[in-house]
Amino acid sequence: MARVPGFRRSFRFPWRTADQVSAEVEEELGFHLEMVAEELAAQGWPAEQARLEAVRRFGDVEGTKRFCRALEVRKETRMKWMETLGELGQDLRFAGRQLAKSPGFTLVAVLTLALGIGATTSIFSVVYGVVLRALPFAEAERLVRPYFVSPEGEPRGAFSVANFLDWRAESKTIAGATAMYQGTMNLSGGGGEPERLPGAFVTADYFSVLGVRPVAGRTFAPDEDSPKAALTVVISEELWQRRFGRDPEVVGRSLLLNGKPHTVVGVIARGTQLPAGADAWVPMVFTEDDRNQRGAVYLAVVARLAPGVTLEQARAESDVIGRRLAEQYPEANASYMKGMTIKPLREQIVGETRKPLLVLLGAVGFVLLIACTNVANLLLVRAASREGEIVIRSALGAKRSRIVRQLLTESLVLALVGGAAGVALASWALKALVKLAPRGIPRLEEISLDSTALLFALGISLLTGILFGLVPALQTSRTDLIAVIREGTRGSKGRGGTRLRNALVVTEMALAVVLLASAGLLLRSFARLQEVDPGFKPESVVTFNLELPETKYTDEPKLRAFLAALTERMHRLPGVESVGATVFGLPLAGVDNTLSFQIEGRPPLPPDKEESIRIAIVTPDFFRTVGVPVVRGRGFTAQDRQGAQQVVLLNESAVRRHFPGEEPLGKRFELGWTSDGVTRGGEVVGIVADFKQNALEGEIDAQLFLPYDQAPLESLAVALRSTQDPQVVAAAVRTEVRELDPDLPVYGLQPMTEVVAASTSQSRFYMLLLGGFAVVSLILAAIGIYGVIAYAVRQRTQEIGIRMALGATSERVMRMVVGQGLVLAGAGALAGLLGAYLATQGMQSLLYEVSASDPVIYTGVALVLVLVAAFASYLPARRAAEIEPQMTIRGE
């Protein structure tokens, strides 16, 4: 500590206020002037004149006063600071010594806090990184997405070209709007393996609207999306690194995308990709036909609000434009939308992950609260044993505030040490979290323990320190001197302390119950999900995807020929039992492609009432390969080929929905899809069993299947049923495809069981995390109740001894002690169940076929808690039962 100037004060004088300083300066100078005046008077000056002369000789009296006053006040402030710092140093050293004296207590407290703070910090990092942090675009909060509002009031993000162009032209509230659609591209040539790139087709102003700058080269020039422009591509930093080793020469180089050369114009920095994970962006060219296309909706639109425009203004304006578009073009728009709205871009990107993450953050907050409660309890118990010390200190004249400060310093030191340990824990936990997290959580790879997270950790450490330290500190400092002296050194905190400790334990138990109930609900929901029959048999099936580029597979015969050759080669692989392929139709990984339809013989519907059905295209062996049975009629055969009678299959949901009480077989469908003058559709020849198309927890859509030979498309998903190890199959598949077409990348190659596992990975992830928190909270609560009961037993040793001397059996004593624990647990469980009922109402949307107030879970949780509490109080109860009556009575 720096030396305090001035007298070394052994006793501290109270600090002077500015008024006092002023008075002292006044007095000092006054004394001087009087002395001079007296001196002059002694030389014969008349008194009045002597005084004036003294002032005159002094010089600038007022200036000097001001100068001295300012100096003194500054000095005073500095000394006050020095002393505060000095005291803080004292408190810190003292706190350190006190904590070192009881290493057991310190270790338990620090570990408990580290657990709480570490868990909270890591979940906060995730929530902050995924949900709260600004998007990596310039002024990202001004980026919005327009949506159409469906006749049912649902937002619809997909725009047709004409609607997009009209809206962009009319809107005055936006500074710019860009459209894109997500797609994938085959990258081949240049020596490397052909690769499937996730990417997007975008208007040329895409990057300038987003405010993304390239790390190399440039983004698209304004006219690069015109039909005459040369083919260009912007690539991601990842691709640049992975495929080109960050070669700066990549700009200007030509890449073979879907078989056509594209010139690389620039590279986009890691983390600024939209859509996330995209590797390539290609300008989207609107032909004159596209510009008039109002029915086909496939564009996602992103816009930047004009300067000074609020979201509400833009929303109001878009609503007007939307209504007008709906009225003006009823045949194209009426069934699709009735108006328009605008949402922040962030909302769409963060989307569905927001809710479960906030639930997790809430849960982890509970863990932290429980940790705090536990440490507060430990402090209270410890405070009881420090009564002697406190009494002596206050007897020596320490003020209550000083003692409270000392005790608070101790808890802050504990909290900060715990926080430091917690940050270490969090940095480890965060890595594990990112690794374990399911796909589909956006922006997860960008998460780190950054300065915000560290600040957060520091903040909550301090907060917890005050939270768990303040109550015990106030309680302890209230120690009644006289009472303690009268009762001897082993004074008791009396009723108040016990009540407080009990209240804390009950709180802790209640919090644990809320967590247990939430975790239980998720667990049950997950179990339900596992029981769901997906409707197909994923075992021993390997699937993969192929995208046949239009540039090479220019017509339908080429597509058919490729698939025939591929199927033939797959069949020859050892162990392969059947081979099937589909477009859009892979179970759990389906592409939602919906077409309008007419059933022959039914009266045509007006455009806004038109019905639509999800479609997929399959080869004859597809359903056999993935294990979906044909329940009526027949499946497709090799005879259902091009030129033969057009046929279709329906799933059971389609039959229920569109043919209630009617015979579907033999009915004819006409789809809103015409190719080469042929309207797709055909006669229903069979019904296949329902299977889950999107997700295990999802509804099953009505679906119609077309034979591949009669409706070939480029996006293939191929399924192989094989007795061989999936790894071996995978290697063989790649070799065969390469021999067939060396430029064609194989992607999504995996056992079908993994597709199933991936579809439950989100709920598994959230369940495991919440379950982990619940277990931790249960352990903490158990420690809490154990501590309180053990302490109570220690305090009641004498009383128990007397009871036993008077004939109480040890069994009875045990029952009494365990009973005390159970009363606390019961109170905690009741409060907790009520809390859980309220807290879990918001969780309903995360649950699959489980009610948020599921009685089985609630009863189970309460039971678990009571059992754990019984066990935790059993240990001290046994010690109580072993008390020797003689010893205790004599002992004290």
Binding site: E28, F31, H32, F58, D60, C68, L71, E72, R74
Partner: protein
């Protein structure tokens, strides 16, 4: 210099005060009288400057102040040299001495 009294150079006041206090605690009036009598009125030190200097030195930690009673039993603020102030005085005195010697050497050889 035609004047009878000399204006004090910056920094000189500090040395004078420190020297004055080296014989024991004094209040401001005492310091002023002592300096006047010791320099036989040659050095004109305005009281305003003196008090400002006293407070400045106190803040620097070279002197310390405490209230006490004057010879005529009135409350007065007494100043006292601190250890640090004593060290400072020695340093300044030796600087002054070397300075004066150098100046005299020049003047007397001329």
């Amino acid at each position: 210099m035609a004047k009878d009294t000399l204006d004090l150079m910056q920094g000189t006041v500090a040395v004078l005060i420190l020297k004055t206090l080296s014989w024991g605690p004094r209040h401001g009036y005492d310091v002023s009288r002592w300096i006047k009598s010791q320099t036989e009125g040659v050095l004109e030190l305005e009281d305003a400057a003196l008090y400002q200097a006293l407070h400045r030195l106190e803040k620097k930690g070279w002197i310390a102040a405490e209230w006490g009673l004057s010879e005529n039993k009135r409350r007065a603020r007494f100043y006292q040299l601190t250890d640090e102030g004593r060290g400072q005085l020695q340093a300044e005195v030796s600087t002054w001495r070397r300075y004066a010697e150098a100046v005299f050497k020049v003047i007397e050889t001329a």
